[in-house]
Amino acid sequence: MSDRINEKIQNYRTAPFDARFPNTNQTRNCYQNYLDFHRCNKALSAKQQDPAPCEWYRRVYTSLCPMGWVQRWDEQLEEGSFAGRI
């Protein structure tokens, strides 16, 4: 399974269509992938596993989210003031 994920990551062009967010408003798509990246990292690091599969979420949120939003959220994470549950 990790081979499939690695292949998907290697052939990454841009964020693909996500059926969970089929409509015009993609705000949640960006935010969900950001959350999922950090949750994936946290979960896999806790189990002492390789966090390489989490790279997919990072590529997707980097494609979708404005750089300013990502910067703001990263700063909030560092300060501990990020509102999302990770």
Partner: protein, 230 residues
């Protein structure tokens, strides 16, 4: 771009805009035919000396002038719905670009591979070089490869703006805190102009949008160049 004394739409640069253009031609023709008929009937009624004081009803004509409009409306609705669903098709984009509206300029981000972005300010009138368009040209255009499905995510940094490019058939509001998605394919290389379409303050009329579509190979050269320079 728009031309002086222009009557119709700008030339379509995307398949969706072509469909919209043809639909508009079809519907406008129906509207002209109905208006001409009604105008003729009015003229005829107004200019005749004949009178009739004894008609009470007529089933036949009532049926005709109920069914015919219903048929005409169906003839308009079917192509309209076809295009509506066409615009809503699931697409598999090759590229994602973000357009952020600020007071009073747009900025574009290309972050699929690197964190690359730039601002796009209108060229002030006194700084125009010969051949540039007043109030339309910008210092850095949004560059796009032709014939590739492109996803544009539009948002704003401060107040409401709206990202519009008429020749691509696109208009999408830029709302702070919200990411609005639209997609298009540019059929031919060229430069396509649009203007901010939501009132956003003093310089709302002075933050145009310019999309430059070039073949994929040249697009790759452009993005490599821009990355090296930034």
């Amino acid at each position: 771009m728009a031309h002086p004394s222009q009557l119709g739409f700008q030339d379509a640069a995307s398949p969706v805009m072509e469909e919209l253009l043809h639909f508009h031609d079809h519907t406008l023709m129906i509207v002209f035919l109905i208006s001409t008929l009604v105008l003729y009937i009015i003229m005829a009624m107004v200019t005749t000396k004949l009178t009739n004081k004894f008609i009470l009803d007529s089933q036949e004509i009532e049926i005709i002038w109920t069914l015919l409009p219903a048929l005409i409306l169906i003839l308009i609705a079917l192509p309209s719905l076809r295009i509506l669903y066409l615009m809503d098709e699931v697409n598999d984009p090759h590229l994602t670009v973000k357009a952020l509206g600020h007071q009073w300029y747009w900025s574009y981000e290309y972050t699929d591979y690197n964190n690359f972005g730039f601002d796009s300010y209108m060229v002030p009138t006194q700084d125009l070089t010969p051949g540039q368009f007043r109030l339309l040209d910008v210092d850095h255009r949004m560059v796009i490869p032709t014939e590739s499905p492109v996803r544009v995510l539009i948002t704003a940094d401060d107040v409401l703006h709206s990202w519009a490019v008429p020749s691509l058939g696109i208009k999408m509001d830029a709302v702070p805190g919200r990411l609005n998605q639209t997609a298009f394919i540019v059929s031919r290389p060229g430069i396509y102009y649009g203007q901010c379409s939501e009132i956003c303050g003093a310089n709302h009329s002075f933050m145009p949008i310019v999309v430059e579509a070039i073949p994929l190979k040249h697009f790759e050269n452009w993005s490599t160049l821009m990355l090296e320079n930034s």
